[in-house]
């Protein structure tokens, strides 16, 4: 499938991941600090960064445990946040090569950032770029977590440093290139809307998430926002 997956290589994946890895290292530190402060110890947060390898889910699990929630609630919140990886995995599946272990490795190294970096537009993904970017981001994430749990007490409050706003800013930066589309309008239920489909999906997704936030447990609004992609079911002109 190499002929369909673009010309970018492992090197492109690494160079695209370097600026993000610096940011991810910082988030890893803040995750380590949070995990330490809610009593997860030092080894468990590092193990979680290596296995779960998904920032928002790990932050959610630590927050639930810190708020006195049960282990089951923490797991549910984290897995619901990670439910997005089911459709993300489906998007990259046609572009992966190799057997079971190769596919498993690519899947494990698929995080929001490596997935976005590997996107080549119009539903095409580059597995080499995703693998290289995933390794770089994973090393940064695990190393950041280790620094956070080992030196966390000396760093101070992550909110004072504005790290909580850096998170949505990072997702906004990842969202921006995905809003480009060749289609200038979309027809949903016979109504023509003068917005490119990805822009409409983004606006709907944000609206669903905000409306549900006061009424549902953490994590649910993000999963539910995925329903906005159903506008893609419309009949093509």
């Amino acid at each position: 499938m190499a002929e369909g997956s673009g010309n970018r290589s492992y090197r492109d994946g690494v160079s695209a991941a370097v600026p993000l890895s610096v940011a991810v290292f910082g988030f890893g530190v803040s995750y380590g600090v949070l995990a330490l402060s809610v009593g997860m110890g030092t080894l468990a947060p590092i193990a979680m960064s290596a296995t779960t390898f998904a920032g928002s889910a790990q932050f959610a699990a630590a927050s639930v445990l810190g708020a006195g929630g049960s282990g089951a609630t923490a797991i549910l919140a984290a897995l619901m946040l990670n439910a997005r990886y089911l459709p993300l995995g489906v998007t990259v599946a046609p572009w992966l090569e190799g057997g079971f272990w190769s596919r498993l490795l690519h899947a494990h190294l698929m995080v929001d950032e490596s997935w976005a970096i590997a996107s080549e537009g119009r539903g095409r993904w580059n597995p080499r770029v995703m693998l290289a970017a995933g390794v770089g981001l994973g090393v940064a994430w695990i190393a950041g977590t280790a620094v956070g749990v080992l030196f966390g007490d000396a760093l101070g409050d992550p909110a004072r440093l504005g790290l909580d706003a850096a998170f949505p800013a990072l997702f906004l930066a990842l969202l921006a290139p995905q809003l480009r589309s060749e289609e200038r309008e979309i027809t949903v239920a016979r109504i023509r809307i003068a917005a490119p489909p990805p822009v409409l999906a983004a606006l709907l997704g944000a609206a669903i998430a905000l409306v549900l936030t006061p009424f549902t447990p953490a994590g649910v609004p993000i999963v539910a926002a995925g329903a906005a992609c159903l506008i893609g079911l419309r009949r093509r002109p």
């Binding site: 296995t51 282990g71 993300l88 995995g89 046609p94 995925g226 893609g232």
Partner: protein, 103 residues
Amino acid sequence: MSTVWIVVLVTGAGTIALKAAGPVLLGGRPLPDRVAGVVTLVGPALLAALVAIGTFADGQRLVIDARVLGVGAAAVALRFHAPVLLVVIIAAAVTATARALAG
């Protein structure tokens, strides 16, 4: 086993299963056109939700605080094609400054 380790192990195994379901079960088969039209929109929908939640949610409450200024500044920086790392630093710096000024 402690609760923390159960959370770590079950969440890790569950996440890897969620990520691998598509690549391992679907194999190299391409998605039907209708499905492809849908999945290309999953990214924008979920990323926008993560932006909205990260900017306005405080637990289950919706609030307007210093993060709005930080993410707004990030949006302006993106408009001028700033690199991602700079965008993230601007968001953190503006938010931290606004908090410091607000006391």
